[in-house]
Structure formats: structure tokens, C-alpha cells
């Protein structure tokens, strides 16, 4: 039962363009959604989050959009930089549940 899905295993974009990473979830009890970035041989690093009472949250070059009716969230990176190349995980947690459920990850490659 894969409650959080990232259907694109990889994404390649040119430096300066927009990167859009997508995530779908099935559990309607999830109310917090988070994005993490992971470099090889390191642990995931928290990037940005959104609660279910919002549909957008922005932090610098990173914006997360939430569409609750579609159970879909996306991470936009504008403009993309080569240093953004990493594996991006979306994660979700439910009310009163501390644990997060992670998606499979999308490998983003930003080409100079």
C-alpha cells in the first residue's frame, strides 16, 4: 500500500529553467506535507513544508503547491541551479502521527 507516490523517477532540466516535481497521495488523513532533498552519502535535508489548510507555500526559489481535492502536491524550483541536482523526496504525515511516509524519490539533474 503505497500511500505517497512520486511517479517520475527522474527529471532533467536546463539551468535557469523551472523544475517541477510531483507527488500524489492516497491517505486523506495526511495533513502535513514536506519535501526533502538528498545528496549521495548524506541524510535527507528538509526543504519546505505545507499544511493542509494552505494551498501554497513559498521559500525563496522553492514553492510547494497543494491540491487537496486531487491529493496532489508539487515542488517548483525557479530558477533551477546545478547545485539543485539531487534526489527529492516528498513526505506526508497525519494528524497526531509523528511519523512521515516518504515517496520513492525523484532524481533531479540540472544541466549547466
Amino acid at each position: 500500500d503505497q500511500q505517497v507516490k512520486q511517479n517520475s523517477p527522474s527529471l532533467s532540466v536546463q539551468e535557469g529553467r523551472i523544475s517541477i516535481l510531483n507527488c500524489d497521495y492516497t491517505n486523506s488523513m495526511f495533513d502535513y506535507f514536506l519535501w526533502y532533498k538528498k545528496y549521495p552519502a548524506e541524510g535527507p535535508t528538509f526543504l519546505i513544508s505545507i499544511s493542509s489548510i494552505k494551498d501554497k507555500n513559498e521559500d525563496g526559489r522553492f514553492t510547494v503547491f497543494l491540491n487537496k481535492s486531487a491529493k496532489h502536491l508539487s515542488l517548483h524550483i525557479v530558477p533551477s541551479q546545478p547545485g539543485d541536482s539531487a534526489v527529492y523526496f516528498c513526505a506526508a504525515s497525519g494528524a497526531n502521527a509523528g511519523k512521515s511516509t516518504f515517496g520513492d524519490g525523484t532524481t533531479l539533474t540540472v544541466k549547466p
Partner: protein
Amino acid sequence: EPEVTQTPSHQVTQMGQEVILRCVPISNHLYFYWYRQILGQKVEFLVSFYNNEISEKSEIFDDQFSVERPDGSNFTLKIRSTKLEDSAMYFCASRGIGRLYGYTFGSGTRLTVV
């Protein structure tokens, strides 16, 4: 910036042996977690720990696994009798109050069972 420290970075062990993976979470965090990632697979939840007890555990976290916070700073994961399929990266994470702030993960321990 505060960080979560995990030791060792790599551990090789014989099948059937006990291993202890160590973590020092961020000092003012209250929630502690172990996750693992088998090579090429997703990051999987193992266990969460709050107020000196397990708050939630996954199906993976069977009787072979245990966690402790022996001295108020360290947070350990013990696997009593390792199996080949326990080979994975094990990540410790901690979190303060407020789920919007996400976890702070350690760099992980790569466990190889031979």
C-alpha cells in the same frame, strides 16, 4: 547549525550478530526516529520515540529491533540477530515541536550484513 550525529558511518557484520547503531539527536528536540533505506528503494519508517518510549513502530520493527535513549542524549537502535536483508542505510532523525519544520536527519549508518 545543530546537527544529528550518527556513528559508525559504516558497519560490516556477520549474519546473526548483534549490532548497535548510535545517534546523538539535536539536544532540544523531543521526537526521535529511525528510518532505513535499502539500496535503490524508498526511505522506510522503522520507529518513533517520544517521552522515553516508543510512540509508533512499523511492521519492519519486529522483536529483533529495539531502541533506547540510555542517557538522555544518545539514541540507539539495536538489531539482535542480523539478517542479510537488514543491509541498508539507517537514518536517525529528530524533530522539535511543530511538524511543519520537518526532521533533521543524520548522515546515516551503512549496515552491511555478510
